[in-house]
């Protein structure tokens, strides 16, 4: 500042003003109503019309819910009770079907004496998820999260424990190969990390398995995949798909951004192909075509096949969501990471992905929610999903023939609770990761 104006100054403030409270019309309920509902004649008219619609919907559906019947063993009994209590022509909800058949909505045709197994798996799911979802919990819990998938598979399908243990052993071998060769050469270590477990599973597992089964026969009653159904099926496929599709989606998103021509082309073709094909087509591939590609004699579990294709489907969408997050990062973040000497993977792990994933949270969770709802499409490959497979089966029984809305509302409500909690968690996560201005 120069001092040339010192003599010609026209105005100098000698006291600074204190802040005053806002006028009362600018706060409180009146202001809220005026701003949000009655800000103009048009908005006032729309508000009144909206209230009218709400009133009509309520008066139309409320009696149906008010006339609910819980204790009835057939649709006819329900109707008799409603007519008896509320007069001729009254309609009402018949929740008796839910009370009598809830176990089928939940477990499908899983043997009732083994219900404790899926329930235990479901409870343990939260134990395994807790350290992943809430980072302030002790990190040691993560080791349980790591073995949980195998434990869950064993508890759900039963049978001998050894095939599951051998699958885990394969992963451990792969990890060891990566660690041991990592100091020698990164590329060789990467290849070994894939090759060692695959060779192990192909050649070594069979003989070791047979041997261990004879020496230490640990086994629980096995349950076939066609006995799965209802929410047990939907949650198994949904959780499996979510857990596997996120890492795959990240890899695809990075692949699409890669400078390496083959990696990039493969990622682009994969993503565009999967996104271009309806999920039902992929499910038919899972149920009919996939077996042609496998060596004759191998029977590959139908739930596993469906889970793999649902995973691929969701991964393609997640890859695109994450690509959006990557594109939103300023170029300077990559440059700063480079300038500090971080190599590609370290830069991705510490700088790029944490920020890109944070930006992508709403999109990723939307994809998860969409995928979880899409699990009901497995009805088309002969599995008993909770929305159509199970209700159709129940309707085929004489007592419940003609029951229509109640199963939909019940199943819809459960889907809503599960999806709404996913959505709330994503909002919690966004708030928690917010880093500016605290």
């Amino acid at each position: 500042m120069s001092d040339t104006h010192a003599q010609t100054v026209a105005y100098v403030r000698d006291t600074m003003l204190e802040p005053k409270p806002a006028p009362s019309t600018q706060t409180g309920a009146v202001k809220w109503l005026r701003d949000n509902l009655f800000s103009s004649w048009l908005n006032a008219a729309l508000t009144v019309a909206g209230l009218l619609v709400v009133y009509l919907l309520f008066t139309h559906f409320f009696p149906w819910f008010r006339h609910s019947v819980w204790n009835a063993d057939s649709l006819k009994e329900c109707r008799d009770i409603i007519t008896g209590e509320f007069g001729e022509g009254a309609t009402g909800a018949c929740w008796g079907v839910i009370r009598e058949r809830w176990h089928q909505f939940m477990f499908g045709f899983y043997p009732p004496e083994l219900y404790w197994r899926p329930v235990l798996v479901f409870v343990l799911l939260f134990v395994a998820l807790a350290p992943i979802l809430f980072t302030h919990l002790p990190r040691a819990l993560l080791s349980f999260s790591a073995i949980y998938p195998l434990l869950a598979i064993w508890l759900l399908w039963g049978g001998s424990v050894w095939p599951v243990v051998m699958t885990g052993a394969g992963f451990v071998l792969g990890y060891l190969a990566l660690k041991l060769l990592g100091n020698v050469n990164g590329i060789i270590a990467g290849i070994a990390a894939f090759a060692v477990p695959i060779l192990f599973w192909m050649f070594a597992v069979g003989p070791i398995d047979d041997l261990l089964k004879q020496i230490v026969p640990i086994s629980i009653q096995s349950v076939d995949s066609d006995e799965f159904g209802g929410f047990l099926l939907a949650i198994t496929i949904g959780v499996g798909g979510i857990v596997m599709s996120l890492p795959l989606g990240i890899i695809l998103a990075l692949g699409r951004q890669s400078d390496m021509f083959l990696v990039k082309s493969f990622s682009v073709i994969f993503i565009e192909f999967i996104r271009g094909v309806p999920l039902i087509t992929l499910l038919f591939v899972a149920s009919l075509l996939l077996n042609y590609f496998l060596p004759p004699g191998t029977s590959f579990d139908i739930i596993l096949r469906v889970m793999i294709l649902v995973t691929l489907f969701a991964a393609a969408y997640i890859a695109e969501v994450i690509r959006g997050g990557l594109a939103a990062l300023p170029r300077g973040q990559y440059e700063a990471a480079d300038a500090l000497g971080l190599d590609y993977w370290k830069a991705q792990r510490f700088i790029i992905l944490p920020q890109a994933l944070k930006i992508s949270i709403p999109g990723i969770v939307s994809t998860f929610i969409g995928m979880f709802k899409d699990t009901t499409l497995v009805v088309f490959v002969g599995l008993f999903d909770p929305l159509k497979g199970i209700p159709d089966f129940i309707r085929s029984v004489f007592e419940w023939k003609g029951i229509y809305w109640e199963p939909f509302i019940f199943v819809g409500a459960i889907f809503f609770i599960l999806n709404f909690s996913m959505s709330r968690y994503s909002m919690y996560l966004e708030r928690k990761l917010k880093r500016d201005h605290r």
Partner: protein, 263 residues
């Protein structure tokens, strides 16, 4: 012409230029597509030199220093930094980058990490320094740039000047032998420019080899031992600051100086 107003006398006892070559650039050319950004650049920087690179926008000065740690790739000629030639060999690039610190116009701090984490990440994962030691080093440099009390905040909570000082500390934590500054004060409010320049002057006083792209001519006069003027991708003139400002040789330099100093 305005004289720089720095609070104190600059201590020149450690500002010694040695004979050892820190950076050698020979016949370096770079194109963006068809556009010839850098043309036949020859530049030798000795250890301990403080070089200010000036020039109109688009003259290639930022591109030049970004080639030195290969944020930009050059297409012909040689760049040798600390005895390591920059080629497409990733090992050499990583080696050079861990020896050369860089400060950007827009700070480029990592917004999801605390100030302390920003400063310790590279030492821990690139230099493989134990975490405890890295934290001690980071606190030492944060004290040097006078913001140790902000160590556990996130970059978004700091002012621009504070963020830029953190960025300088983050580079210093890697114990670099050369520091590159790419318009470090251009994105700052006038009130904050001084605090960043003070930090840079302290660094110069300790004998750091520095290359600064900047429009702060006061800084150039006070600290630099050499000023380089670039236009259209070429080095047009270089001289010691006294002669550069008082006795410019080329017409292009005279025009530039009259424009930035003339009002």
């Amino acid at each position: 012409m305005t004289e720089p107003h720095f609070d104190r006398e600059i201590d020149r006892s450690h500002m010694q230029v040695s004979d050892e070559v820190a950076i050698q650039i020979e016949k370096m050319n770079k194109w963006y597509g068809q556009f010839h950004v850098l043309r036949d650049i020859d530049l030798t920087v000795n250890r301990g030199e403080r070089i200010v690179i000036a020039g109109p926008s688009g003259s290639g000065k930022s591109t030049l220093i970004r080639c030195i740690n290969r944020l930009e790739e050059h297409q012909s000629g040689k760049i040798i930094v600390d005895g390591t030639e920059l080629t497409s060999d990733l090992k050499n690039i990583d080696k050079v980058r861990s020896e050369v610190g860089m400060v950007f116009q827009h700070f480029n701090l990592f917004p999801h990490l605390t100030i302390l984490e920003n400063c310790t990440l590279a030492p821990i994962w690139v230099r493989k320094i134990p975490k405890k030691e890295a934290i001690e080093t980071a606190m030492h440099f944060l004290e040097k740039v006078k913001i140790p009390e902000q160590a556990h905040k996130y970059p978004g909570m700091l002012s621009g000047g504070q963020q830029q000082r953190v960025a300088i500390a983050r580079s210093l934590c890697m114990k670099p032998r050369i520091m590159l500054f790419d318009e470090p004060t251009s994105a700052l409010d006038p009130e904050m420019i001084k605090e960043v320049l003070d930090t840079m002057i302290e660094l110069a006083e300790e004998g750091m080899t520095m290359l600064c792209v900047t429009h702060e001519m006061g800084f150039a006069q006070a600290v630099a031992n050499r000023v380089i003027f670039m236009d259209q991708g070429q080095i047009v003139e270089q001289n010691n600051p006294h002669d550069f400002f008082n006795n410019p040789q080329s017409d292009r330099t005279k025009l530039f100086l009259s424009q930035i100093l003339g009002h």
